[in-house]
């Protein structure tokens, strides 16, 4: 188990309603050395920078806030329409709109820190070098507990190929980030690859402390009346319950192939049962994405529901779940 560099100043633990004392909290987990009160995080890009949700949830009470991905310079993002609904899901092509790392550190991060949120800062870049510079800047902020490296974006130095589809390119980014930043690093991967385990091994070998699985699947939808794509960007990322079976399979494959590597699972979590699917197949935590658009309190409600699920199943803590999964018949 790795030690959090701020191990001496533990984040205040906000026990979920009904949970016991610190040691006995059934929901508390250790994610790459960072203790979280619940294993339910807000997923990147689906919780803004936290500020907008402060009226709906106690930011200090949720597992952690993964921020919208932050780049070196501000980004305007894509033209609209940027989203469209699909069966049990949605497509988005936001284009990583964000204010840039300096504005993030000046404006958004202090708000999150003040609110008592555990912050996982999501890093994005067009090259390994840009990733490194953003990571270094973010890791210099004490409020940043973990970095999540969003590798599902185009590598401008390599024909625009997505970093996470190439084990070499993904590993290079992780190496750069790790040498630039002293905080634990999660590598966020895409399922749109032939061999996810190979990419996962490459980034873990390169120093990633954990993995976030999975980002959106690449998809497209057509407005048949207007005979044009529904998104201005033509293609976009598919999220929501529709992709959950793919995400569960990915987490299961990687957890089985690489036991002991912490995994934050994301993809279609709406209910506590959905979260339990991921925790049973080996995830350490789950991140709720699209569901927050429908229910701003989804992150809290999934955590509360998990506590109920554990009680109903007679299981002491979330950490016990993987051992109770019976893959054989």
């Amino acid at each position: 188990m790795k030690l959090d560099r701020r191990g001496g100043e533990p984040a205040p633990l906000h026990a979920p309603p009904g949970a016991g004392s610190r040691g006995a909290s059934p929901l508390a987990v250790d994610l790459c050395g960072v203790r979280l009160p619940t294993p339910v995080l807000a997923a990147s890009g689906c919780f803004g920078f936290g500020r907008e949700m402060a009226g709906f949830v106690d930011l200090a009470g949720i597992g952690a806030v993964v921020t919208k991905s932050v780049s070196l310079e501000p980004r305007r993002g894509r033209p609209t329409p940027r989203v469209t609904e699909t069966p049990s899901g949605m497509l988005n092509a936001i284009g990583l709109q964000n204010p840039g790392v300096e504005a993030f550190c000046a404006v958004d991060l202090p708000f999150l820190a003040e609110a008592g949120a555990r912050v996982v800062a999501s890093v994005v870049g067009r090259s390994a070098d840009e990733f490194g510079r953003v990571a270094a800047r973010l890791a210099a902020e004490p409020a940043v507990r973990l970095l999540e490296v969003n590798l599902s974006c185009p590598n401008v130095e390599h024909r625009g190929e997505v970093f996470a589809t190439d084990p070499e390119a993904a590993a290079a980014v992780i190496r750069t980030v790790k040498s630039a930043a002293g905080v634990p690093v999660l590598a966020k991967l895409t399922a749109d690859v032939t061999d996810l385990v190979a990419v996962a091994r490459a980034v873990v070998d390169a120093g990633a402390d954990g993995l976030t699985l999975i980002n959106t699947l690449l998809g497209m939808a057509v407005d048949t009346k207007r005979r044009r794509p529904r998104l201005a960007a033509v293609t976009g990322g598919l999220s929501g319950p529709a992709i959950r079976p793919v995400a569960v399979r990915c987490v299961w494959q990687v957890a089985t192939a690489m036991p002991g590597v912490p995994i934050v699972a994301t993809g279609g979590v709406v209910t506590a049962e959905d979260a339990a699917e991921f925790l049973l197949v080996g995830a350490t935590a789950v991140a709720v994405g699209t569901a927050s658009f429908v229910d701003p309190r989804a992150v809290v409600e999934v955590a509360d529901g998990l506590a109920g699920y554990l009680r109903a199943q007679g299981v002491a803590t979330v950490g016990d779940l993987p051992a109770l999964f019976k893959p054989g018949r």
Partner: protein, 277 residues
């Protein structure tokens, strides 16, 4: 004005006028907080199916014993969401999040206001007129649509303001033409100093241009595809001139809008095609 709340509301009734349905739901907290120009994000369908919320302008607020008790919103049936809403019956439940966004800003002192609505864009103008008239403003309502059938509640509109002007593209009701054809005369005769508009983006661009040409302030309530309505998804942006001249930034219409200063929106960047004012 307090923050948005989520209420599981009882449907009190569903009305119909032309192509538009109007749902009335019991939502005391939402009703109390709602101001014209704000919107509701309602969840169509059942718990077992994933659906995004659908945004609808607050059309009217109803009172019971003097306190706000109900909200109304109106819609045309388009896709699965509005189809499910159209099937709601009295007594059924509807999950409503609201009020969302920033409302129209009333003028500092009583003045003549021209309210311009296109299609269901006229819905929020009912509540707006109430607010403005309560502050002593004169209200001229100008409402347009492609055809008579798509006019928003033309009969009820007569009592909404101090005057009513109707245009349809095909002349099937009111004056033939678009709302901006009727704007200059209305602005001149009423001596209006503020235009409030809601409707399709291309119409809003034309209204904003017409108001600017007349030297009149203009607030527009825009409409962009929304996934969350709460500011966390960054889907609903419009480019705004804001700060340095000629420089725009992408503003989320669900929390910074949907009401913007008509002169601040960078209409040309929206790719609306030819804009005939």
């Amino acid at each position: 004005m307090s923050g948005p709340v989520r209420e599981r509301c009882q449907v009190l009734g569903q009305g119909r006028s032309g192509v538009y349905h109007t749902l009335t739901v019991a939502a005391p907290r939402v009703a109390t907080a709602s101001r014209a120009g704000q919107f509701l994000a309602v969840l169509p369908g059942t718990d077992h199916t994933f659906r995004l919320r659908r945004p609808f302008s607050v059309h009217r607020v109803g009172r019971s014993g003097g306190t706000p008790a109900t909200v109304e919103f109106s819609f045309a049936v388009l896709g699965p969401g509005t189809q499910a809403l159209a099937a709601l019956r009295e007594g059924e439940e509807l999950d409503v999040l609201g009020p969302l966004g920033r409302p129209f800003r009333p003028p500092a002192t009583p003045t003549a206001c021209l309210l311009v609505g296109g299609g269901y864009g006229a819905a929020p103008l009912f509540l707006l007129s109430e607010e403005l008239r309560a502050r002593g403003c004169r209200v001229d309502l100008l409402t347009g649509a492609a055809t008579a059938e798509r006019l928003f509640k033309p009969a009820e509109s007569a009592a909404v303001g101090d005057s009513l002007t109707i245009t349809t593209d095909d002349g099937s009701a009111g004056r033939r033409g678009v709302v901006t054809d009727a704007m200059p005369a209305l602005l001149a005769s009423a001596g209006g100093t503020v235009v409030y508009a809601c409707g399709p983006m291309a119409m809003l661009a034309a209204v904003a241009r017409t108001a600017a040409a007349a030297g009149v302030a203009c607030q527009v309530a825009v409409e962009e595809q929304m996934a969350c309505g709460t500011g966390i998804c960054f889907s609903c942006v419009v480019p705004l001139f804001d700060g340095a001249p000629g420089v725009t930034r992408m503003a989320r219409t669900c929390i910074e809008g949907p009401v913007f200063d008509g002169a601040a929106v960078a209409w040309a960047e929206l790719g609306l095609g030819e804009l005939t004012p």
